[in-house]
Symmetry: C2
């Protein structure tokens, strides 16, 4: 194989590189860039100040890391405030959404297995 | 079920809470705190300045996010400099390690499926 085919450089990205990843608008004020692997999928979500998603659920396990800002994580029937550096697991099937604080929020979401709905461009949380 | 049994609060953590997670010393100057889910496992690795791990590989898919500092990511037969905000995928079976820069490094590693070796306390990268 040629060097270009075997290079690992294609596996490297940056959280702030807006030109990289598969763009998806989840809801008004919520956009994400998606990176799919074989066993896990990363989704870098930007939430505008005070914007919020819609409560939804899916069978895939999900983890979230609050990279910037503040938010309320709605999970199950609870509303849990989160700040930068907080992270959480959302078991498959548990309803969830987020509501950003006054400065907005940036969240790294991890899905395992990858969500099939997020492998293609589109809008929404994939359950509609 | 009682409210305490159903609360999602046990699923919430913080990257900087040194008292949380399963502690593991990977190599001299490399420690991690591990959080296991059903489909994915998070590992928050702290690397001392200029410390480095040993080249190793495992069948699980791995993703890494450089949270702080700088480092050289060794992956396959390449050495790729990474800075804060960079992230990368390491396909299963690809040899890898890291070497921290002068200010050290903090890395979020994600494994899918969870690495069985990391479900219990111990030392090393789990292949020894």
């Amino acid at each position: 194989m040629s060097e270009s085919r075997t290079s690992q450089k294609v596996e490297f990205h940056n959280l702030d590189d807006a030109s990289d990843g598969l763009l998806r608008e989840l809801a008004p004020g919520l956009t994400t860039r998606i990176f799919a692997g074989e066993r896990a999928m990363l989704s870098i979500v930007t939430i505008a100040p005070h914007a919020e998603g819609t409560l939804h659920h899916h069978p895939e396990e999900q983890w979230g890391v609050l990279l910037e800002g503040s938010a309320i994580r709605v999970q199950g029937d609870e509303e849990i405030p989160v700040r930068k550096g907080d992270f959480w697991r959302t078991p498959g099937g548990v309803p969830h959404t987020m509501r950003a604080g006054p400065e907005g929020a940036k969240v790294l979401d991890i899905f395992s297995p990858p969500r099939a709905e997020y492998r293609k461009p589109g809008r929404g949380f994939g359950d509609q």
